[in-house]
Every structure is written in C-alpha cells, then in structure tokens.
C-alpha cells in the first residue's frame, strides 16, 4: 500500500508516496524521477547527463519499485530514515565535501539575515572576508 512520504535532500523537501514494507521504503520510478531527478537506465542511475553505474541492480529494484536504501548505497549517499514518521534525508558523501575543500576555493552559499534579506559569500569577491560561524549557545 502506498503512503505519503517525505524525502529531504539539501534544502529540497519532496512530498511523495512510497510503499513501506518491513523496514524498507520503496518508490515508484516515476516518483523518484519527479523528486530527486534520478532515472534508472540500462547504463545505471542517470540525472541529466550524469550517470552512476549500478553494481547491484537487484538491491536497487524490487518488484518494479526503487528501494531507498539500495538507492542511497548505489549513489554513495548517507541515508537517515524514520519509518514511524515516514521521512528520510539523503546526505552528501564525505569525499564530495572533502574534494570541494581540497580545491581551496571557499564554497559559496546564500542565507537570510534578520530581516530575511539574502546574502551570498560570492558578493564579496575582491575583498578579504573573515567568515565567522558562531551561535547563541
């Protein structure tokens, strides 16, 4: 039976339907394509022009549905899952973050200030920037 399910990746929150069986979550291939953008093709999982070869297709595709844990495994992404609340988050592999930092460029981001105005780090190119992460705690 298909149930509502929330899938988070980065700042995107996708509301879709999924089939929960035991401790596994399975998605219709169309729901996967409509949310995360991945399509299962003969050459592997593809998003836009980029494809990831799939080593264990049986772990990924079960009864015509895409297994979420199998998907995370195939993409090398960490998966956090709450079956009770029907929600999951897909994270970024450590090597992707490490490679970005290894390139030496300060990763860009855009975030709101107190009034909701958006600010990007890259707006300050040409200046020396002191990036300060702090908190009230």
């Amino acid at each position: 039976m298909s149930e509502p399910f929330t899938l988070i990746e980065g700042d995107a929150v996708h509301e879709l339907s999924a089939t929960l069986s035991g401790d596994s979550v399975r998605l219709e291939p169309a729901a996967l394509e409509g949310s995360l953008g991945w399509t299962l093709k003969p050459e592997g999982l593809c998003r836009g022009d980029a494809c990831v070869p799939v080593r264990d297709r049986a772990a990924l595709l079960k009864d015509g549905l895409v297994d979420l844990a199998g998907l995370a495994e195939a993409l090398g992404q960490p998966l956090a899952l709450d079956l009770g609340e029907r929600a999951a988050a897909l994270g970024t592999p450590a090597e992707v973050r490490a490679a970005a930092l290894d390139r030496g460029e300060a990763p860009d981001f855009t975030l709101p200030d107190l009034e909701g105005r958006m600010h990007s780090l890259s707006e300050h190119r040409g200046k020396k920037v002191l990036l300060i992460a702090y908190a009230s705690w």
């Binding site: 956090a80 009770g84 930092l101 920037v129 702090y134």
Partner: protein
C-alpha cells in the same frame, strides 16, 4: 573592527548556527552590525565547511580562496577564564592580514591544517538534517531519536550536540553542557598554530 578596516577592502561575514533569527538577534542588534550577518538554521555552512564548533573563523582572500583554515578564536575575552584564549593576539593578526596580507597560508598549508569530513561525520549531518526537519514539524520524540543518532556518530561535534540543546529544550550553559564538555570537543589543527596568549 569592520569600522576600522572596512575601507581597506575587508568584510566580516557572520553566520549564526541557530534555530531561528531570534536566538542571535540580541548579538547582531547589540553589536549594531552593518556587515552581512546571516542565520543558518539548516547548517548549510556547517556542512560545506565541515565546522564542528563555534566560534569558528576562516580567512578568505580576494580571489575567494580559503587562506587560513578553521580556527576557534574569540573576538572578546568574555569566556577567557573558561577556554584560556585571549582575543588580542588573534585580532592583531587579522589587522596585519588586512593591511599587508601577512599570515595568509598557501593552499598546501591550508589543506594540512584542516580536519576532513568523514563517512561518520556526513552520516551525522544527515541524521541532524532529518532531526531538524522532524523538529520543525513538531515531531519532538522522533527528532530526539535522530539528534541522538547524530550525536553518537559525531560525539565531539558541538554544532550537532550543543547546537541541538536549545531545540531539545536543554540549557546549552547548564548541566547537559558540562557533561558534554567532559567528553571533549573536536579540535582544529590551527589550535597549535595561532598564538592565543598576549606576549
């Protein structure tokens, strides 16, 4: 410092790893901040830069490259008695960097003085992302499970463990914090490089 050095092509960019704008509002309004001061409740910057404690400071040069990596340093001496670091030597280093470029490191030096994200730390951040989402939906019991899991995966990352205390109704300056402090905090390699005492 921005008032002092702003004309020299310098800008502080502060990022509050807080649950909402109201938490850091007194700091930002109290300081009369005119530089960019953003709120990062989703920990976008914490993840992109692999930040594990606050305050974490990085230097970024005119070309947009990190030229001095993660360093826990303080702009004031409010908590010097607790952490043992004086603010003056570091503030002096910033002035020298802005005026002459002194203190900037090469790409190789920067790489050699940072901690890399690990499989466990990325799993922790993913659990934290799910916990934060559940918390925003009022699903506190489920959120607690995933904050706990994140803390187990990255026990010395205070952006995760101490940072989730206010969300969980715990006092980040209370008994739970001192228990966490006893377990220790992740330390950046720059701790051995930057002078933290007035000479």
């Amino acid at each position: 410092m921005y008032e002092e050095l702003g004309d020299l092509g310098f800008v502080p960019f502060t990022v509050a790893l807080d649950r909402c704008a109201d938490d850091p509002r007194p700091f930002i309004e109290g300081a009369g901040a005119t530089h960019p001061s953003v709120i990062d409740s989703d920990h976008v910057v914490a993840e992109l830069y692999h930040i594990v404690n606050v305050p974490t400071i990085l230097w970024i040069d005119e070309r947009g490259r990190i030229c001095r990596p993660h360093d826990v340093q303080f702009g004031t001496d409010t908590f010097t008695a607790f952490h043992g670091k004086s603010s003056a030597p570091y503030l002096e280093m910033i002035r020298a960097w802005v005026r002459s470029g002194e203190g900037a490191m090469s790409d190789d030096e920067v790489r050699a003085h940072r901690i890399a994200p690990s499989e466990a730390s990325q799993r922790a951040r993913t659990e934290r992302a799910l916990a934060w989402h559940l918390s925003k939906r009022g699903l506190d019991a489920a959120a607690a499970r995933h904050f706990d899991r994140a803390g187990e995966l990255a026990p010395k990352d205070w952006t995760i463990r101490r940072g989730s205390m206010p969300i969980r109704g715990e006092n980040p300056f209370g008994p739970e914090f001192f228990k966490l402090a006893e377990e220790g905090v992740a330390v950046y390699p720059m701790d051995d490089v930057t002078p933290t005492r007035e000479s």
